[in-house]
Amino acid sequence: MRVGEEIPELIKHPTARQLVKYAGAQGDFYEIHYDQEYARSVGLPGVILHGLLKAAFLGQLVTDWIGDGATLKTFEVSYRGIDLPGHPFHCRGKVTRIDGKNVELEVWGEDEDGKRTTVGNATVELS
């Protein structure tokens, strides 16, 4: 492992069904995530992904990479743009710092045009 190394990409394919499942599992029933008419009435192009669903995708990116023995210490995500179901969401990351067993990562989510709609970072402690 070295600083600058990219971790394996995770591509998610969110669907309207997934947004409904996530709304139920998280208990977030804000209508912009499943009611097209409501979403448009508040100026959105249609229903959008929950920010925290995108955070969960990026969490999966990190926990897939670190494996079982390692521990996630911090995980931060900022939502810069909206993402729509029916479009792939690319989860990517790279190593930004290595200090003994502690590794810092930059993580981000890209839409299909390569625009970073979601940015963040994580700190992990390797076993």
Binding site: Y22, G24, A25, Q26, G51, L52, L53, D68
Partner: protein, 139 residues
């Protein structure tokens, strides 16, 4: 419609004041539905809660309902999790949150109200397992 200044004054009265505690058991079935919903098949989540599951214990806006008198909707600006101990299936987790800051910024369609909140999650042994710091925006 309440003004920005009135909304800020109202939410400011909540700064530093702990909201109502929410306690829930981390149920296997709930975690299974959550990992199915996010599409994460990692077997680690058979016994442990995945990193963002804590937000399913209590709505992130539970301590922020005062702000709903302002604007027409919520936006999630960001979330930062700090983890101190794993959350295992069967744990009883208590969420306790508070507003830590509130301010406004002009946006493209009017003023945006930013509310920074913090939620502490502790387990049945009283151990702090995680802290969530988030930015919710009213627009």
């Amino acid at each position: 419609m309440i003004t920005t200044a009135e909304a800020i004054a109202l939410v400011k009265t909540r700064i530093g004041v702990d909201g109502p505690e929410v306690t829930a058991t981390v149920e296997a079935g709930h975690v299974r539905r959550f990992v199915e919903a996010i599409g994460d098949p990692n077997p680690r989540w058979d016994t442990e809660a995945p990193p963002t599951f804590l937000v399913a214990i209590a709505p992130v806006t539970v301590h922020l309902s005062d702000a709903e008198v302002y604007g027409k909707g919520w936006l999630n600006g960001g979330n930062r999790f700090e983890y101190f101990a794993p959350v295992m299936i069967g744990d009883q987790v208590t969420a306790k949150g508070r507003v830590v800051d509130v301010y406004d910024k002009p946006g493209s369609t009017g003023n945006l109200l930013f509310i920074i909140f913090e939620t502490d999650y502790s387990n049945q042994r009283g151990e702090l397992v995680a802290r969530l710091r988030g930015t919710m925006i009213r627009r």
